[in-house]
């Protein structure tokens, strides 16, 4: 089997990387994080047209699919970019397949439209907002990018059915309370609706949320991959520079081997992330397993690699001034974002022919 990025995909990655290096350099990034306003980044990102890459042209995107989105997520991770608005929105795209106007607003016009699902769990259809006839009421906690959104796509429990409803985040009946994360490069918000009105989109909500779960797994893994790549680069660079006992610390086997383990993590992550992206995009029968393996393995490995990077950096890695802290925290959040490895391992376990839980003889 041979699989590699097409020339176009490789170009896309390298152009985006260059762009992020220029526009999302450490000083600018730290400025946005300190003011708590990533708006300038989001505006530039949308204005340059990056938003539409990886989404169908008929919906106002620029074509491509989940592999392109994974490439973008990886680059955003590698730059520790404030990408919650983008991530929250690309998760909403599958829900807008039959709502071309809303999709176009999102993909072409930069109207951030975030899918209202809890970011701390595997996305699933468990509506916490209901429609009692006098409007939408209920709340959804910890929604990635909700604080950045102009529109919210909310799973709603109707009388006999579930639906996805577009709600204007600025409406008087909608409140989004931003919440701070330890990883300041991402933001979440708690959504509360009190009799809000909205526009239902035509979609099978259950099927959409199933797809969203796989998308979230792939894109979070891709983010973690980018973060790990960057941490490895920083670590290797530092290990060559920093001298102790008259030699670069990178000449110590314990350091060298630990860095080599990080490289193994990066390479194995790369293999499963792109496989999972292509598999989910193509609707492969095992796509759910590929996505679960990616989320469980890659994000757990990234968190471990973050610890290694910190150890190899010593105290400087622990300082605020050094950028490793940004990546360390981002890796820790990726681990639990949209379901911890244990939750995704449960999905894998459920697909194996194991004895069903609770049936073992006592």
């Amino acid at each position: 089997m041979r699989w590699e990025l097409s020339e176009e995909q490789a170009d896309f990655r390298s152009v985006l990387r260059d762009w992020l290096q220029e526009r999302c350099a450490s000083a600018a990034l730290r400025g946005w994080l300190d003011t708590g306003d990533p708006g300038p980044f989001e505006e530039q990102f949308a204005a340059e047209g990056w938003w539409g890459v990886g989404s169908p042209e008929e919906l106002g995107g620029q074509g491509g699919g989940l592999v392109e989105l994974a490439l973008a997520a990886g680059e955003l991770g590698r730059a520790a970019a404030p990408s919650s608005a983008w991530m929250g929105s690309v998760l909403a795209v599958p829900a807008l397949a039959n709502a071309p106007d809303a999709a176009k607003a999102l993909l072409a016009d930069g109207i951030t439209t975030v899918l209202a699902v809890r970011s701390g769990a595997v996305p699933a259809l468990r509506p916490t907002v209901s429609d009692d006839g006098s409007g939408l009421t209920g709340s959804v906690g910890s929604v990635l990018g909700a604080d950045r959104a102009r529109r919210l796509l909310v799973p709603v429990q109707q009388q006999n059915d579930t639906a996805l409803v577009l709600v204007d985040a600025g409406s008087a009946h909608a409140e989004v309370r931003p919440r701070a994360l330890t990883d300041r490069t991402r933001t979440i918000g708690d959504i509360t609706l009190r009799g809000a009105s909205g526009t239902p989109v035509a979609a099978d909500a259950g099927a959409v949320l199933d797809q969203v779960a796989l998308r979230a797994a792939v894109l979070t893994s891709a983010d973690a991959l980018g973060v790990t790549e960057r941490m490895l680069e920083m670590t290797v660079e530092y290990a060559k520079q920093r001298h102790q006992f008259g030699v670069p610390i990178g000449s110590f086997q314990a350091v060298k081997h630990a860095a080599a383990q990080m490289l193994v993590q990066v390479e194995s992550a790369r293999s499963i992330v792109y496989l999972a992206a292509a598999s989910v995009q193509a609707g492969h029968p095992d796509a759910h397993l590929h996505a679960a393996a990616a989320k469980a393995q890659v994000t757990a490995g990234a968190a471990k690699a973050a610890d290694t990077a910190l150890t190899l950096h010593g105290a400087i890695g622990y300082t605020w001034e050094y950028d490793l802290q940004l990546y360390y925290k981002r890796a820790m959040l990726d681990r639990v974002l949209f379901g911890a490895p244990s939750a995704w391992n449960e999905r894998l376990a459920a697909a194996l022919d194991l004895v069903p839980e609770g049936s073992a003889a006592l």
């Binding site: 086997q253 314990a254 081997h257």
Partner: protein
Amino acid sequence: MDFDLTDDQATIRKAVAGVVRKFDDQYWMEKDLAHEFPTEFYDTLASGGWLGITTPEEFGGHGFGITEASILIEEVARSGGGMNAASSIHLSIFGMHPVIKHGSEELKQRTLPRIVDGSLHVCFGVTEPGAGLDTTRITTFAKRDGDHYVVNGRKVWISKAQESEKVLLLTRTAKFEDSAKKTDGMTLFLTDLDRDHIDIRPIRKMGRNAVSSNELFIDDLRVPVEDRVGEEGQGFRYILDGLNPERMLVAAEALGLGRVALDTAVKYGNEREVFGRPIGMNQGLQFPLADSLARLDAAELVLRKATWLYDRGEPCAREANTAKYLCADAGFQAADRALQTHGGMGYSEEYHVARYFREARLLKIAPLSQEMVLNFLGSHVLGLPRSY
């Protein structure tokens, strides 16, 4: 707090190390490869009086505690004899505990002096294929018939049955379903392994091959009432008394194995040169060995605390279980790293670490798995709901 060994304990450690020194790695390798019981070793310990270290003096023993027994067995394992050496004497050292505590005077007089002088080999017949660690589910049944019981059933993983004259046999005298409590209805015997009624079949296995592990098929075995240990129906409780000491002894065996593996690795790391310098100079090899030293030392402390508590008559289940868990883990890890340090040579029998490795792995499974230790700690110590 006093971390010193007593004079007696220090003497025992030194003396045992001296006695077992003449059985070197070569001896144990040959016994292991030939699947041959280490009779010369066993006889030497017996004639030195070591088998009776914990047996009360009135039965010819020395009446020492589990601390001294654990020091003895640790030295035995550490000599390079590992589990082959330890298992050949393990039951003589402390296995008779239920008999000492609950057996009739007649039974004790008849058997214990012979345990001490080494002429009586015993094995422990508890585990069954259908029960595993769920001991109350055993089905081997002893049916009263006048002044005898007639026993039928199956046992598995019975160490040293081939070489044993008697078996400490746990049976049911009332079926599980007829017993008010699941631990009721079990009866313990110390009786002859009558080959006419017990078919003993060795199990082929990964290591510790100088001491057999066997399946027992028991068919109408007639056991005289005099061979019953204590009262009918109380057998499970008698066995339970011996479980913590067993855990501590096994921990000591794991510790000894880990120590000898580490010593062997250090020696090789200093001697073997590659790229023009001793391989022990590589951090990739030195750090894991140093880490193992730290882990073995830590595990040893818990073991010492456990035996100290037991010998003072205090509760020690938490410490005994923890000691088994940590020693088994540290011992296996040390053996694994010793093998890695030896590179390809580690895989040959000639360098002995392969033997240590196979034997150390056993201690993560036997006498109970690491997971069962966690079950114990989780439910009985932490107070979480029983998970199994």
